[in-house]
């Protein structure tokens, strides 16, 4: 597959060189790339899901390493892995319904998989249910302990199945791949339409004559506000300009062309203005599993101001920004320090950095972090394409979208 390898290499290079930026673009391109990886992957008769998973993991490892700060890439990879597992499970269950279930699972356990929990009928049923997406708290609780075991077991289940029954395997292999590609297509569509789905909910949240505050520029926020405007809501928007990139200026321009009453304020004026604000609506770079948000720099301050004045702090984000990882030291590890040139003119300050005549050590430091971490307790509501959610509900959404096995996207050296 030199073809796919080249594609992967290209995309990894683009990510490395920061030529793909923004979580939306990265997510979409990752999904498209994975679709071609899956469609070009040759599948053996046995253990198809495992092969697919390995292939996707191999690609995923490269992409995540290429730009670890862009969490959307990892999210999409985990979503695709989850899709493969689900599709495999559902096909296994259908296959098993046709077969003698018990004999197969016995076979399996007799082998070298003793360390793994037994593939009980209950587990299969639970897995099948989860594959059919029955999102109730009950299934979830029941599901979690076994979920680690199910995929391995099912893949080996497929294995033994391949040995015993070879009649319908060609059909099945095509079917699995086909299903996975279908699901990825759906995912791509989801990513494409997430803005519309989010903005559909705008009227429910923005009311007549309200004052909305936002910071910087987020496409999701823009569409959200415009959607409310289109539904004949009249409201005012305060835009904090979002130093040092001043994307707020761009947003203000866009809002004004849509006929929205807009006021630009400096970032430092947020606290002064917040008492007049009814709701803060902002975009995010990523939502972490604990409900914390990685967001453009300055938002933590806005969130604290909002909390002080009991103003609802609403984060709008597509579900591709939902990251199943917990933030550890997010200010440093999940941050991107950009060029200080955004902040100040290098030339003007070059004499402050003349190391030759100033003792050799730099006295002037300029730090330009891209992201802020907003802890979950400051967020009032998340609006994703599936509706509004509390920060404490995030883990639940994550369990829907991701499989616990995939949190670490690394190929296992054994097995």
């Amino acid at each position: 597959m030199p073809d796919v390898q080249a594609l992967v290499g290209d995309f990894a290079l683009k990510l490395k060189r920061r030529k793909v930026e923004g979580s939306h673009a990265s997510a979409r391109q990752t999904a498209e790339l994975l679709r071609s990886v899956v469609s070009q992957q040759r599948l053996p008769h046995a253990g198809q899901a495992a092969v697919l998973i390995d292939a996707v993991r191999a690609v995923g490892e490269q992409l995540i390493a290429a730009n670890p700060v862009e969490l959307a890439v990892g999210n999409i990879i985990r979503r695709v892995l989850h899709i493969i597992r689900e599709e495999d499970l559902s096909s296994t269950t259908t296959a098993m319904e046709g077969l003698g279930l018990s004999a197969d699972s016995d076979d399996d356990n007799a082998g070298d998989h003793e360390d793994r929990p037994a593939l009980s009928a209950a587990a299969v049923a639970a897995a099948a249910r989860s594959a059919l997406r029955a999102p109730s708290l009950h299934t979830l609780l029941e599901d979690i302990p076994e979920s680690a075991a199910v995929p391995h077991a099912s893949s080996s289940g497929g294995d033994s199945e391949g040995k015993s029954k070879s009649a319908d395997k060609s059909l099945k292999s095509r079917k699995l791949k086909h299903d996975v590609i279908e699901a990825i297509n759906e995912l791509i569509q989801d990513i494409d339409t997430c803005h519309e789905q989010i903005s559909e909910q705008a009227v429910e949240h923005i009311h007549q004559n309200e004052v909305i505050l936002t910071l910087g520029r987020s496409r999701t926020v823009k569409e959200f506000l415009c959607a409310a405007k289109e539904k004949k809501r009249s409201f005012r928007v305060f835009v904090a300009e979002g130093a040092p990139r001043y994307q707020g200026h761009v947003l203000a321009k866009e809002l004004v062309t849509k006929g929205l009453q807009t006021t630009i304020i400096t970032d430092s004026a947020v606290f002064a203005m917040i008492s007049r604000v009814n709701m803060v609506i902002v975009g995010a770079h990523a939502i972490m599993a604990n409900g914390g948000v990685i967001a453009p720099v300055g938002l933590n301050m806005v969130a604290l101001a909002a909390r002080r004045h009991a103003v609802p702090f609403v984060v709008v984000a597509g579900s591709h920004k939902l990251c199943p990882l917990y933030p550890h030291n997010p200010e440093v590890l999940l941050n991107d320090l950009r060029s200080p040139a955004d902040l100040l003119d290098f030339d003007e300050f070059s004499d402050c950095m003349d190391f030759a005549s100033r003792g050799g050590s730099p006295l002037l430091h300029v730090v330009n972090p891209t992201f802020d971490y907003v802890p979950p307790n400051l967020v009032s509501l998340f609006i994703t394409d599936t509706g509004g959610h509390n920060p404490s509900y995030m883990y639940r959404l994550i369990a829907d979208y991701y499989s616990a096995d995939d949190l670490v996207v690394k190929r296992r050296s054994t097995s």
Binding site: K16, S339, A341, F346, D347, D351, F355, S357, H365
Partner: protein
Amino acid sequence: MGPKKVARSASSDDPEELARVPLQAVLLADSFATKFRPITLERPKVLLPLVNVPMIEYTLAWLESVGVEEVFVFCCAHSNQVKDYLNKSQWTKPPSSFSFSVSTIESHDAISAGDALRVIYNRSVIRGDFILVSGDTVSNMDLTQALEEHKDRRKKDPLAVMTMVIKHAKPSSTTLQTRLGTDEIIMGIHPETKELLYYEDKADHLQRVILLDKTLLMENPALRLHNDKQDCFIDICSPEVLSLFTDNFDYQHLRRHFVKGLLVDDIMGYKIFTYETHASYAARVENFRSYDTISKDIIQRWTYPFVPDVQYLGIGYQAKLERQGIYRAPDVILSRSAHVGAFSFVGNGTTIGDHSHISTSVIGQRCVIGKNVVIESSYIWDNVTIEDGCKLSHALVCDGVHLRAGVILESGVILSFKVEVGQKLVIPAYSKVSVLPQPCKQDSDEELEYADATSGVIESPSITSVANARNQDLLSDMLDVPGSDANKVGISGVGYIWSVSEAEHDEEWRFSIAPIPKEKLEKFSHSAHDDNDEVNHDESSIPASGELIPDSDGTDFDGGVGEDYRDSADFENEVEATFRRALAGVDVQNVILEISSLRLSYNMSHADCAGALFYAIMKSASDISYSNNTELSANTKMEINKWKNLLKNYIKSQDEEIEVIMKFEEICLETIREFRPLFTDILHHLYEEDIITEDAILSWENEKQGADESDKIFVKQAEHFIKWLKEASEEDEDEDD
């Protein structure tokens, strides 16, 4: 970048654009300089690691990011190493969808950038505009706009062959050096068209005087002189540049010969323009000082995205950025009690022992650093072993160096590849140590000196007495059988300390990695003060800051004076001949041009021109037949009136005016004695015609005050006139009050 450009060219109807040539770049992987010796004896400069990544990576990555599609790497010295490196690197891997290809051009006899460009011309690989950079450029600027400006200009004016990228920089007022350790550059730029009109990188700092060609001011209504611009050495060139280099086979240096050549040579009319970049970073590693400065800039992320934790560069592993700008590779073994301070980089596989302190330093891969080591603002490359208790400050340590316990490197020390230093040795400041002996110079005297110096430096008193005896043994061993015997001597080291000539030694601190020592700075600010004072008192004198003039400069100056006499006579004759042609009806503009070029070729000042021209005028006046003094005076006045505009071209300040008066004296005394009685009369006339101001006359008189009686005849003759002038000026002052 790629697709964008295609779209642009497709949309334009210009046939020239339709036949699109890929954007090409010429990368000179050889600096044709010796600033990085002794390191560059073993490895080409472009492969030296800058924050653990070879310099050429920065340049290539930047070229790729600005949309260059074809790069020709010109290698000369160590060409095999460059080629090997490129073959292994990511750049020459079979290209995927990125259209970026790197190919090498090799030549072994090129000794300058000029030669390199001539070789490239002969290969005829350049098809359109190209970017000319050297392989030690670090930049993140976006060239799109500069390229467009260049193309637009080219369409309007095919003579605009080059666009130079410049950047605002503030040279330090005391050392007259930029933060990159380069000398202040004086550029004259047209404020609107941004045409480069004047370029001087070797301005005489001691005099703080620059000489501008008067034609420059005549031809250009506006000219802005900058000393606060930094030349980024990034040029966008048209293919003509290559042919120009081929035509003018004596062009060697890009700036000193080519740029100045084009600016001075009006005949071809080629023009150079500038493009100033503001927010982005662009700099060139020219010497150790800029190596230090640029390393720190990279660590402070001014070159984003070309920083260690973004994997733009082929670094091979991912360094993580931690708080306070500390970059750490994944496999670092750091003792619990070791301390890595802010703005440091620790490379892969490096081990750092207990209680070691590291601050603002870059440490390469697989280094072993012992206990209680202090490393401060130093650059340590790969596979270096530093044993317990060493102290390094502002030093550069190359691959494979072994420092035994207790070694102290004073600031500015350079240790080249595989040097070993024996126990408890103190390497004095600014030393350069290499396992290769210093190459012999052509001069046999110097060779002797060098041989003395090698042993001399080791014996120098700065080495502790304990180490001294031991070390001398080692050294004698080493000198007898260099290299082979080295391993036998367990406790001692391997390497030659390079000597520097006296003149160079004085300048060493300027380009060193170490910050400029305090004393030097103080000395500088004092002398700057002195300079200013003296300039105020007497503008014509050269400030006596003798301590700053390196010996070599001094002798140069003397030599120049010696030659002056012969030259000036020739020069006068030439100017006179030119002037005669003017009399014969040649256009005044051409005369100006010819005199300007004469001035340049004889390396004369404007004052000399004014003197010579005045002499020529007077001579022509005396050639007209006359019967008595009144007639001669009238003739002379007429001639002066006729040519005063020409003369004024060269009279820009009092210096020139005084020169004219002196010349006049000389004429009266020596050559054309007929003018003797008319001295005051004509002086008065010159004064009235505004050729000479009263200040000049008065200061001339002042100057003559202490002269011999015989020199004073004309002062006496003009006594009345001078008195009148003085009174007049006093009256003026009275009126002012």
